[in-house]
Symmetry: C2
Subunit: 361 residues, 2 copies
Amino acid sequence: MEIAELGEFGLIRRLAGDITPVNESTVKGTGDDCAVISTDGAQETLVTTDMLMEGVHFDLTYMPLRHLGYKAVMVNLSDIYAMNGTPKQITVSLAISKRFLVEDIEELYSGMRLACEQHHVDIVGGDTTSSMTGLAISITAIGTAAKGEAVYRSGAHETDLICVSGNLGAAYMGLQILEREKAVYNEQVRETTAQARRNGADVEEAIARIPQPDFAGKEYLLERQMKPEAKKDIIERLREAGVRPTAMIDISDGLSSELMHICEQSHCGCRIYEERIPLDYQTAVAAEEFNMNVSTCALNGGEDYELLFTVPLTANDTVSAIEDVKVIGYITAESLGKALISRDGNEFELKAQGWNPLKQP
Amino acid sequence: MEIAELGEFGLIRRLAGDITPVNESTVKGTGDDCAVISTDGAQETLVTTDMLMEGVHFDLTYMPLRHLGYKAVMVNLSDIYAMNGTPKQITVSLAISKRFLVEDIEELYSGMRLACEQHHVDIVGGDTTSSMTGLAISITAIGTAAKGEAVYRSGAHETDLICVSGNLGAAYMGLQILEREKAVYNEQVRETTAQARRNGADVEEAIARIPQPDFAGKEYLLERQMKPEAKKDIIERLREAGVRPTAMIDISDGLSSELMHICEQSHCGCRIYEERIPLDYQTAVAAEEFNMNVSTCALNGGEDYELLFTVPLTANDTVSAIEDVKVIGYITAESLGKALISRDGNEFELKAQGWNPLKQP
């Protein structure tokens, strides 16, 4: 059977579905943003890991290595915050093909160190090896949460409110812009090369004269794609406000897909309102430019690394007052299904059209 | 600068050399078999991670996926034991190219699960994604050690005895045999194909008739290469005997290289005796067959995953009585350097000729 058919979650279920933990300290295994491991103290240990492959997760033609390093760390820290935890350490493993120089890896590492500094995290180890082709990055983040404070995907209850932080779809639109400009540039290189050859001109010089793309007015979208931030501030504001989410997940694959994880693991249904999905102005403008439905971008575009969480109905006033947090719907009984209520009041079944990392590019 | 010039340890020093931990819980960062993280209880958490790349660390033409899975887990558990710890959990990240089927990954995973079962370890998470080419495996192992019980590379003292478990060089000779048979087989395929084409015969059928290599008398060497075992039993025997090593490391890159790590981090020198290096009979026979010096194989051949450790001189009788443990030399003052004493009594400076994972294959 081809792996893309099963998809990532199908494959994991097939491989790890029937595993029963043998260690008492294994509080939570696969199936959440982090594994949770108990210690003999009052803290639990959170562990999450991510593997980023060149050509699948990143494209070095437009992603500077420093940004890549920063992002590779952030997406892992985001998983720790999504458990209501505090990241403390990471390990970094790199497989590097020979086209990279020491200076390149220093660039990559400088981005990683910056991300770590901002979140008070130590790089405590890793592995460095060669690769036949391309760059592979595997990061494991380790964090802590006081016993009983970790928030799982499975804790949502009927009538709970569904909240998201920040705004959605921007990172996805940023990616569309970068991909478009890459295609334009490649075409220009082809044309310029042909022309220079015809004219007996220096090809490299001609290529160097191709103007850089103009990203004016789209800076925010590029930043969301290339320099995502883990939402430590949201976790802190929730704590200050005395609100503990009942369920939480970070939005890496798209709002739809993540909300479905919460509903499935909490055995609930949900209703979210299209008109309440937070969007940035630049996202809306870019979606129109690309002739895309902006809500679809927000529902299915990934990599925003915002937090999606549920809170008890009684916390409505409190969460609504928190900066950068928006209530977008509510949890229902499982039998009512999972639906989006459109601007015109129609109900549409939610579908996970998030990114399938196992589909070959 | 090219990365292979610096080597793995040079690169890590350059990237991570000046990092000072900011978290109190970071007891030990890079530079040992595991990172050590304190908890608010009486246990410390040990973390180690390894990245295995197809074409660099393994060759699927002779390595069955089930064995590969088993080995990938074992090498990580070995690092936990090398800190005098107990492995408890692992995460498994896979990047898979489309030539692999679901059934292949199940094979790989079955080997991982077998290794975990034997060591009472839980698979608690990971990441599964696609790869443009080949298979990449990144495993992180998490273990525990009572506070103060972790054994570092840096604890060796002058007059301590140097001990190794099991025997050395066997995994390396196993690799030589597999590589030779692969070359022989590839040559046979070329010849058979040419001949079948000349005779108008079915090429696939002709290839299928090529006899399998005969590994009789070399089973042990192949097993050491393809199915290494983490040395839990040695750790247990040391505990039962009441001996706590002063320094310890697992032999993944070769005895010379690992002993140099202990000496450098402990600021010591050493003397080891060639005649005391434990060898298996099959290793000696194979070395002769390959016209190699068997001591060189034992000193520089990696992947034995035996334990190298030092104990106080007073523990001589106790460790000498432990099954599968052999005293091979002693720790000296740093100024005396690191040397091998050959069978004829001459001193040779130890050199790390272990495997450079950053050298392109």
